[in-house]
Amino acid sequence: MNPALARRPAAIGGLALAAAAALWWMGSSRLALDDGSDASHKAAGALVALWLVRGMALALLSLRAGVLRGWRAGAAQALGLIAPSWPLVVLAWSASTAALTQVALAEGLLLAAGITLPLVGHGLRRLLRPADLAEALATTLGVGLAAALWYLRGPWSLPTG
């Protein structure tokens, strides 16, 4: 693998996630256009999927990244995961009926989580010795957070139509 790519697994993951979401959303929008149905449902679905998957990925990766590499590197990694989806978020918002404030709030929360979670991980590393314990705890917390996000995904849903 290219060394530059190997250094940025989160950014590659973020780009791959955005590409997959774009493929699904553009494909389903094309089908909706062809049969004359409302494409806003698919756009809302794409937005919710992007928020949920990035949120869960942040929970799983950023705490550990904070423990292992410090909060600055962890935050940079989190931004690399979040940012590649922004053009798609802008387009999906344009095609949906979601309010701009709701979309901005969700992206803001993701950014805040991308900065806060590595900071928490970094704090765990300082509080707990040995480092393996901090890493194990960060991993457990991350999995718990991701699971909580999945089970509480209802509030992420958007009005359609």
Binding site: M26, A43, L91, S94, A95
Partner: protein, 505 residues
């Protein structure tokens, strides 16, 4: 001397104060406006049908005002200037009124020195009849009934000025005095309704009227009838109702004649592909972390700029039909606007199609801007978003001069004659389930079809046309493309067709 001067000064001051207060009181008084709103057809309509509101406005001072008529999810808006001593009349067409409630609001624009005052508001109720409506305009005589119909007694003022409002009424009986009391716009709307195959019986119409209306009726003139007595009118109506009329082509049928709006989708697919390639290259070649972060930000801005700069695509499809030798052809048109952004889109309505313009989906919220000077809708405004397709439906009639006859000869070939004076362009001939190429034919000349075997209807156009032709052996029709250069803007991708049924010989 001094005391007298002081008294004069006081008196002068009081007078000036009095004048100033009078002036303030005069300036502060809001204009007095009288607003009367009367629905056509005595306030009757049918669910999902259009009607008209007759609005009269008068004022005691010159004011600019905005009139809004809210019916269902559509608002018709008109900016008007009212002059003192003059009654302004507007005949506002309204689409499907939903529950039947119509709200008319007049808001005076505030001007320097005079307050606007509160908006004038009138609430109207349009009665929705479940039974077909029979409109009877008789100056004399008792009430008229017809089995299965709800009768509405009409005077000349109850008849609308917009042809689209005639869709409220299923059958109309008008006597000569009522017909004579109609103004020019009412007559034009009545003729347009007759051309669109509206069932009308003219009672005791004089020879001049009969002559003027000859050939004005659509569907071969079968729906425009003249009777000398009420009994004869009933009989004619009975016969007319027993015969089925060609139904209007559905909006879905017209939609089939257009291609899906994919231009925006194609542009975005390319833009996203370019973005993902650029983002991957940035990850590969730039070590500094802000660069891969900057790429998505710039890409999001570029995508928004792309959508802002490219005009939203629009398609117009016009389907028209007529009978050989008829003076008018009736049309249905469908215009689709593809959204690109979250915005309020304002689109002009082609003046030639503005007689009956409304959203194809009654649930679509829309504002129609009514030009009071021209008496028709000038533009439409609606909220749109990326990939949203909003459609406007139009209907009406236009003059036509095509006449053709068709005959199968002894040798099995079909002779098609141009019975009119003007030449035809090349088109298609539809006969007995087959589609044939129809060459251009000069006026009075003929052509022979069938030397090559006709093809079964293949594309959407041939299928749509064939579905409109009578399936019996006499069901022959010619289909020509319509020239729409004068109707639609060049930025609109427009296509139209004219289907003319042949007369068998």
């Amino acid at each position: 001397m001094r005391s007298s001067d002081t008294a004069w000064h006081r008196l002068l001051l009081l007078l000036l104060l009095g004048f100033a207060l009078c002036g303030i009181a005069q300036a502060a008084a809001p204009p007095r406006i009288e607003l009367t709103a009367t629905p056509a057809w005595q306030g009757w309509s049918r669910p999902g049908r259009s009607t008209e509101i007759d609005i009269r406005l008068s004022t005691d001072t010159t004011v600019r005002a905005t009139l809004e008529v809210l019916a269902g999810r559509q608002t018709v808006r008109s900016d008007i200037e009212l002059q003192p001593g003059r009654v302004s009349r507007l005949h506002i067409p309204v689409g499907s009124v939903g529950t039947g409630a119509v709200t008319v609001t007049l808001t005076v624009a505030p001007e320097a020195g005079s307050p606007a005052g509160p908006p004038e508001r009138r609430e109207l109720v349009i009665a929705q009849s479940e039974s077909p409506l029979l409109g009877v305009g008789r100056a004399t005589g008792g009430p008229v009934g017809f089995e299965g119909f709800h009768t509405v007694a009409l005077g000349a003022p109850d008849l609308p000025r917009n042809a689209s409002a005639y869709s409220s009424i299923d059958v109309l009986i008008l006597d000569a005095p009522t017909l004579g009391a109609l103004d020019q716009r009412q007559l034009a709307a009545l003729l347009a309704h007759a051309a669109a195959c509206g069932r009308i019986v003219l009672l005791n119409a004089d020879a001049g009227v009969r002559q003027a209306l000859e050939g004005a009726g659509g569907c071969g003139g079968h729906t425009l009838m003249t009777a000398t007595s009420l009994g004869e009118a009933r009989q004619m109506l009975g016969s007319s109702l027993a015969a089925s009329l060609p139904t209007a082509i559905a909006a879905a049928g017209l939609a089939e004649l257009s291609r899906p709006a994919q231009a925006t989708w194609n542009r975005l697919a390319v833009a996203l592909a370019v973005y993902f390639a650029a983002a991957l290259l940035a990850l590969l070649f730039f070590v500094a972390w802000p660069v891969p972060l900057l790429v998505p930000v710039l890409a999001a801005a570029a995508v928004l700029a792309l959508l802002h700069t490219v005009p939203p695509p629009s398609q117009l499809r016009v389907w028209s039909e007529g009978e050989s030798g008829a003076q008018v052809a009736r049309y249905q048109a469908w215009q689709q606007f593809s959204g690109q952004l979250r915005e309020s889109l304002r689109v002009p309505i082609p003046p030639q199609l503005a007689a009956a313009a409304q959203p194809c989906d009654p649930a679509q919220p829309m504002r129609l801007n009514f030009d009071a000077a021209r008496g028709q809708v000038a533009s439409a405004e609606f909220e749109t978003r990326l990939f949203r397709q909003v459609r406007l439906c139009y209907s009406g009639s236009f003059p036509m001069a095509r006449a053709l006859t068709s005959e199968v000869r002894a040798d099995g070939l079909r002779e098609v004659r141009n019975a009119g004076p003007a030449a035809w362009p090349a088109g298609l001939l539809l006969a007995q389930g087959k589609v044939h190429a129809l060459p251009a034919v000069a006026g009075g000349a003929h052509t022979v079809i069938g030397a090559v075997v006709g093809l079964p209807p293949g594309g959407a156009l041939a299928r749509t046309a064939m579905a409109r032709v009578r399936p019996d052996p006499d069901g022959v029709a010619a289909l020509w493309p319509l020239e729409l250069a004068g109707v639609a803007d060049v930025s609109i991708e427009s296509k139209g067709w004219l289907l003319v049924s042949a007369v068998p010989r």
